[in-house]
Subunit: 402 residues, 2 copies
Amino acid sequence: MTDIHDLTLKLQRQNDSKIVLYVADGLGGLPLEPGGKTELETANTPNLDALAKRASLGASVPVLPGITPGSGPGHLGLFGYDPLKYNIGRGVLEALGIDFELGPNDVAIRGNFCTLDDDGLITDRRAGRIASDIGAKLCEKLNQIEIPGIEVFVRPVKEYRLVIVLRGEGLAGEINDTDPQKTGVAPLDPIARDDASKATAELCKEFLAQAREILKGDAPANFLTMRGIATLPAIPTYEEVYGLRAAAIAVYPMYRGLARLVSMDVLDAGQTLEDQMNCLEANWNDYDFFFIHFKYTDSTGEDGNFDAKVQRTEEFDTGIPRIMALDPTVVIVTGDHSTPAKLKSHSWHPVPTMLAADVCRFDDVDGFGEAQCRTGSLGQFEAKYLMLMALAHAGRLEKYGA
Amino acid sequence: MTDIHDLTLKLQRQNDSKIVLYVADGLGGLPLEPGGKTELETANTPNLDALAKRASLGASVPVLPGITPGSGPGHLGLFGYDPLKYNIGRGVLEALGIDFELGPNDVAIRGNFCTLDDDGLITDRRAGRIASDIGAKLCEKLNQIEIPGIEVFVRPVKEYRLVIVLRGEGLAGEINDTDPQKTGVAPLDPIARDDASKATAELCKEFLAQAREILKGDAPANFLTMRGIATLPAIPTYEEVYGLRAAAIAVYPMYRGLARLVSMDVLDAGQTLEDQMNCLEANWNDYDFFFIHFKYTDSTGEDGNFDAKVQRTEEFDTGIPRIMALDPTVVIVTGDHSTPAKLKSHSWHPVPTMLAADVCRFDDVDGFGEAQCRTGSLGQFEAKYLMLMALAHAGRLEKYGA
């Protein structure tokens, strides 16, 4: 199987086209009853519907049929990186999610505060779900830990969750979790799964020894476990594989972090969709590619709130006129996965997608929804191919072979 | 990833079915405006439309979504050979395009006559685009070159373009172009990219030295550059992988050459579609599989002439009754890629395709066009799978597994 980027490296062509990837997180949905409409079909979306009339529609499969992606694989696919090839460790994702700027010498670790009894056995794997401000104070204490030869960063996430980053030359992340996944037993030692990670496992052990001493009086959070120990995957940059100067306009840290993984410039997106559109306009001349991320279609879906997801979809719709006013060469509207309110979670269902360009096929539809996308001319496709289509419609790919 | 031919080698079954692959080069198109019709949809094609009513329709993706193929990869895909696995060098394609019968001991090279100044620097990479008859005369002179141990063939293509073939045991083609792609510099030396090609690179050097001497008084065409140096890829034959005795009926040399690559017999196709149909009838009993190639839907598309492409599509349509009169088991109508008049070039858009057989699903459509193919029961599929469907509908594949 040829890697997509082997092709784009050879075939990429420069021009002054502009591509906008407008992502509604968790866009795809489900009707509550057979015969009913999905959230997107229910929403009043005049701008998306008008765009659909001059677009190719299709259904994006984030990873493979039936596979529900997390935010990492979901976005990597949209960015054109095979989500089965590039694996983002949980620790890395957690660090990205708090806007921590990871570098190539970092090992990122997701930590959970836990409660130990007098025998050192875990009685609560989440330390009674301590309040976030308590967790933050404990992280400040842990952030004082010093280990010779490396830098140590400890940052709070939320409640009992934290991130630990070890920074130094030659670190590696093939190290088992120390969370035994049950109570009544002691935390595990951090065990290296390969030779290259043995030294780093020792550093983790040293960190845990110091943490045990620091936290011993702080019950219920008198210790922590480590999970998802990982380094940044080696990912070729957007500029390299596509020849695109790319910018991300995302309100939430996680999505800024994912964009940073592929070396997009992360712009100041502000707090609202209007802020994001202002940012797009202000930076229009400086980039070839814009990734605009809208979070709330996912969060309302996760809440199981069908009506709120409909409303947020209508809000998402209002961004279209300001994008179109800039006259982009290619506009893609899609999601990183489905988040049906009915399921209150991410799902595997293909994601409604449209690509509008002067040189696309037109699908003779009356609007943008799951039903129209099912029979659109993009077909049902793996998300990782979306960037090939974006580049093609932007005139940014040479012919393959003579 | 399983190779398609690993399967067909195991599963092929003999019977006396007949398969016709009727290819309109560049068949797929685009409407000139949103809401408009494509060339195929505009054309009056009563025979294709009638066939569609008893066929399965679909949209063929020549290589991968967004990838625009040249004629080589486009046809290899239709023939069932993964176009990302089998790479046809530019020199090979150029030789095929002038009906030069390449063998396994040949290295094919695309040559460009160029102009050198007194210092040996290139002043014109195309030698003032000399007339074809002048190019032909120069090729006759170059064809006298003798290099001990090998045979040398020099053939004109058109204007400043020529083909050089070196024939001998143990030659190899991993050699860089000598065209520096700019003027004001000297031509490059032919540099081998691997050890196996070093001896052949020396032979290229020797050829160029003799050519320099021969051409020195022939300004503006007083030298040549070499490009796309390549050997035939090792491709298993149709007979081997499918158990088919296959014949090609193609007016243009390039397509005869591509058929020869997979060891089809190349029949005398004459000059017109009627000649081609006469040829089909005359040879009907001698083969299991016929590839019939119609060029003009591509060339009119390349010209950007929407109306002419419509007209040529209507001409293509007239071939259907004579094919159907022979009562083939399976008829496939498709293209090797799209060539929308709107783009004046090959494109990545999926290609309208239909497969008619007694045992196919029927799609309840009123005609053959991009719109009907978008929702057809073949779905959107990579072209390399088309031969599997042809064999299946012809009863030529055993069950896989028990």
